[in-house]
């Protein structure tokens, strides 16, 4: 330890920090009973959790169904939650803003922590997003044809969820990509959110997604988003070399 570090250590003991106020009463007042006025965001997160827990509780008695539900809820680092209706939250209209920093393809390859897989057709734009995600955009932000997301799973575990909220109009099918379990969401748009283990929404606003195929392979979570049916989505997924 250097002299400067030692001095900082001593300063820590000599800092004039006010006496800690007793927060117990005020904290308890907010959590017991549950406060009626709460942040909008918290409300729907809790509401969604309740719905999912209710679904889990109803399913726990049936082992096969339970296993299926857990697979459905967590795949490729994504949790898919089925809800009665989608929450009303701000939606990110600017696709580019929700993807991250725009980079060149070469830069995307170089800066990613894993070997990025590419389609035969080069992407029109490449972005580096939250948690090491590499995004390929085919088309333009205004008229996207296809989005490919690749996220290293060391960034995405049970603590960090790409949460997809699927309403009753969204069809959810389980499938596989070359043996890797996959989920295909189609039909009505659904919401995509990034939520960390602390309950904070990492992305400030949600993004509406179209048909999506999700799977993981070799420590990377893959997502294809576009207007396609399952057959075409699987074909694209398998060509991602």
């Amino acid at each position: 330890m250097t002299e400067l570090e030692q001095a900082l250590g001593v300063l820590a003991w000599e800092l004039d920090v006010p006496e800690t106020p007793d927060l117990t009463t005020r904290v308890l007042a907010q959590i017991e009973p549950r406060a009626p006025r709460r942040v909008e965001r918290s409300r729907w997160i809790v509401a969604v959790t309740v719905v999912v827990l209710a679904a889990l509780a109803a399913t726990l008695a049936i082992p096969d169904a339970r296993a299926a539900l857990f697979r459905l809820l967590s795949i490729g680092g994504e949790r898919i939650e089925l809800v009665d209706e989608l929450p009303e939250i701000p939606v990110q209209d600017d696709l580019e803003l929700s993807l991250g920093e725009r980079v060149t393809l070469e830069e995307g390859r170089r800066r990613s922590s894993f070997s990025v897989r590419e389609l035969d057709e080069s992407p029109d734009r490449v972005y580096l997003g939250e948690r090491g995600t590499v995004w390929f955009l085919h088309g333009t932000p205004a008229l996207p044809r296809l989005l490919v997301a690749q996220t290293p799973l060391d960034f995405v575990n049970e603590d960090l969820l790409v949460q997809k909220l699927a309403g009753p109009g969204t069809r959810v099918e389980r499938t596989d990509v070359d043996g890797s379990p996959a989920v295909f969401l189609s039909g009505e748009v659904h919401l995509v959110l990034l939520i960390d283990e602390y309950g904070y929404v990492v992305e400030e606003s949600a993004r509406l997604a179209r048909d999506v195929l999700v799977w993981d392979r070799d420590g990377v979570a893959y997502r294809l988003e576009g207007d396609f049916d399952l057959e075409k989505a699987l074909r694209l997924a398998r060509s991602l070399g």
């Binding site: 250097t2 400067l4 570090e5 030692q6 001095a7 900082l8 250590g9 001593v10 300063l11 820590a12 003991w13 000599e14 800092l15 004039d16 920090v17 006010p18 800690t20 106020p21 007793d22 927060l23 117990t24 005020r26 904290v27 907010q30 959590i31 918290s42 809790v46 959790t49 049970e158 603590d159 283990e197 602390y198 309950g199 904070y200």
Partner: protein, 155 residues
């Protein structure tokens, strides 16, 4: 049990007792709500402090100030009340004031990592959790911040 460290963390990050109180209180409430997401078996303290630090940062930003710290040090040699550090040493008044002033001149990122590592005495792992960065980033940021602090301390 964690009130002291939560308040101290918020205070050192905001530099304001009122903001620190709000941040710590809000942090505890949010932590309670996020408890179902807490990974059983993992250390609780950095998890809680991360939430408190987040609240402190939000208050710091919403106050619209460039973190004008109002920290001060106890005038140990005049009052004789301050407990000596575990090393049994104390800083001279000039040295202490110069060091504190230099810390406060650092930018937010440097100050936050030094605050966590030295003023809150958090481990690298805990600091990484609290600041939401990788452990390697804590190492490099700490080294850079110490170098800048050393420069600031130069006459």
């Amino acid at each position: 049990m964690y009130q002291g460290i939560a308040f101290r963390t918020a205070y050192l990050l905001t530099g304001s007792a009122a903001d620190a109180e709000d941040a710590a209180q809000s942090g505890f409430v949010k932590a309670w709500r996020a408890l179902p997401r807490f990974r059983s078996g993992s250390p609780f303290r950095p998890w809680l402090l991360r939430i408190v630090a987040n609240e402190a940062h939000n208050r710091r930003r919403s106050a619209g100030r460039a973190h004008a710290l109002q920290l001060s040090a106890v005038a140990a040699e005049t009052s004789g009340d301050a407990a000596p550090s575990p090393e049994g040493t104390m800083l001279g008044r000039e040295q202490r004031e110069a060091l504190l002033a230099a810390v406060q001149r650092l930018d937010e990122r440097d100050r936050d990592v030094l605050t966590c590592r030295y003023l809150l005495e958090l481990s690298e792992e805990e600091t990484a959790t609290v600041l939401d960065v990788r452990r390697g980033t804590v190492k490099s940021r700490t080294a850079r911040a110490l170098a800048r602090l050393r420069t600031e301390m130069e006459p």
